[in-house]
Amino acid sequence: MRRIRVIPVLTLQNEKLVKTIRFKNPTYIGDPINAVKIFNEKEVDEIVILDITASKEKREPNYTKIEEIASEAFMPFAYGGGVKNLNQIEKLFKLGIEKVVLNSVLEDNIALVTEAAKIFGSQSIIASIDVKKNIFGKLNAYKISGSTKINYSIDDFVNKLEEAGVGEFFINSIDKDGTYSGYDLALINQVSSKTNLPIVVCGGASSINDFLPAIQAGASAVAAGSMFVYTGATRGILINYPKQEELVNKVYQQL
C-alpha cells in the first residue's frame, strides 16, 4: 500500500498560532506547543510550522520557541520563516528540526539552496512557492507573505529551484488559503508536469475527500491549515486529524 504524507501546517506570528484566509486576517488560534502536543497524540505524519511574518518584519527565526516545539515534536518537523542564510539553517538543524522551508530568500539568493543542500542534503531543503491568480487568470509566484510578486514564471522558478538542488516543493495557493474549496488542481497539474521532485500541496482542503484528487493531479503529500485547527464551517477551534483507518480506507487504498 502506498502512503502519502498528510501534513498539518501551523502558521505563527512570532510566538502566536494564527490562521489566515487568503493570507489575510490572521485569527488567533492558541499556543503552538499545545497544538504540537495534540498532533503527537494524533500521530500526524509530519508538521510544517511557518512564521508568516518573520520575513515581512525582518525578524530572525524565534530559536527559543522553535527549540521548544522541536523538543515536543516526535514526527518530522519542517520550519520556515525568516530564514536567509546558512548560519541560520545550521542553527535550526541543531535545534532538532528535520527540514527547513525557504521562500522569501529564494528569488534573490538561489545559491543558498545549493550550498545548504550540499551540507545538509537535498531532502532537508524545501522550496515554498506561494501562488496567486491575477485578474486574467494567470498563476504567478509570490514571496514575503504573498506581498511581493516574483519575477520568474512558476515554471521557470520550479526548474531553477530543482536545478539548484531543493529536495521538495511546498506549493501554497493564496487564493485557496482558508477557503475550504478544495485544492487548486490545475496548479498541482502544472507544477507536477515540470518536476519529478515531491510536491507538498497546501490551500483549500476541507476534508479527507479533497486528498485523493490532489494526489491524482500529481501531489506527493497533502497539507492543510484550517482543516486541522478548526471544526466545521463556523471555525470553532479544535485541533484534529483523521484517524489512520480512515486515511487507509479513504485515501491510501484508493491510490
Binding site: R5, A73, F74, P76
Partner: protein, 204 residues
C-alpha cells in the same frame, strides 16, 4: 549511560529528545574516551555515505567503535545513514563501510518503481518482520515508521535481515547481527512505534 555518537552528520537532537521522552538519559559525544565507557551506542546519520564515513575516521572513532562493538559486544543501533555505515560500502560513494554486517548499500532501482514513486523514498511505511528480535518486541507488521532515503541496504546473508519494507519492491529496512542493529527508518520521528523500538533497544 547511552551515548549518541556525534560525528557531525545528522539529527542528534531529535534522538536525544525522544530518549528523554521515554525517560532515558543520554549523552552526545564525539570523544573516543567517552565512547569507551558507553553502555550502549547509537550511531545516527543523515547525508552522504562518504561524508559520514570520513567524518567518523577524522574524529578518530573507528578504532574505539571496533573495540566496543566487535570485541566487547556493546549494543549499537545505527539509524538511517548510521545503519548503512554498518555494511561493506555503498553505491553512493567510494569509502568502505565499518564492515560489521555483510551487506552492501545500493541505490533504489528506479526501473522497478512506478512513476508516482519518487526517490528519495520519503514517507511513512510499514515493516515486514523477518525474524524474532528483542528490538521489535510489541511491534507488529502494522507498525509505521518514517523513512527518508535514496539508497537501501542489501544483505548478503539473509540471516541478518530483520525487516523488509515495500516501496516498489521489497528492500531491507532493518538488520540485526548479534549486538549490532541498524534501522533505515527514523524511530526518533515515528511516534509510539519509534518510542517502543528505542525502549526495546534500551532493555537489550
Amino acid at each position: 549511560m547511552i551515548t549518541i555518537i556525534d560525528y557531525n552528520a545528522g539529527n542528534i537532537k531529535s534522538i536525544q529528545n525522544m530518549l528523554k521522552r521515554i525517560g532515558v538519559k543520554s549523552c552526545i559525544s564525539s570523544k573516543p574516551s567517552e565512547i569507551e565507557t558507553a553502555e550502549k551506542l547509537i550511531l545516527p546519520g543523515v547525508g552522504h555515505f562518504d561524508y559520514g564515513m570520513m567524518n567518523l575516521k577524522q574524529s578518530g572513532l573507528v578504532d574505539v567503535l571496533n573495540k566496543k562493538v566487535v570485541d566487547e559486544k556493546t549494543p549499537l543501533l545505527g539509524i538511517c545513514l548510521g545503519a548503512q555505515l554498518l555494511g561493506n560500502g555503498s553505491e553512493e560513494g567510494n569509502e568502505k563501510g565499518l564492515g560489521w554486517i555483510d551487506m552492501d548499500v545500493v541505490k533504489f532501482d528506479k526501473s522497478k518503481l512506478s512513476e508516482n514513486l519518487k526517490i528519495p523514498h520519503m514517507s511513512w511505511n510499514e515493516i515486514n518482520i523477518k525474524k524474532e528480535s528483542k528490538l521489535l518486541e510489541g511491534l507488529d507488521n502494522d507498525a509505521r515508521f518514517y523513512f527518508v532515503h535514496s539508497y537501501h541496504m542489501k544483505c548478503n546473508d539473509e540471516m541478518n535481515v530483520l525487516t523488509n519494507t515495500s516501496y516498489g519492491y521489497e528492500f531491507t529496512s532493518a538488520v540485526e547481527k548479534e549486538n549490532i542493529f541498524g534501522v533505515q527508518f527514523h524511530p526518533e520521528k515515528s511516534h509510539k512505534f519509534g518510542m517502543r523500538l528505542l525502549e526495546n533497544f534500551m532493555s537489550i
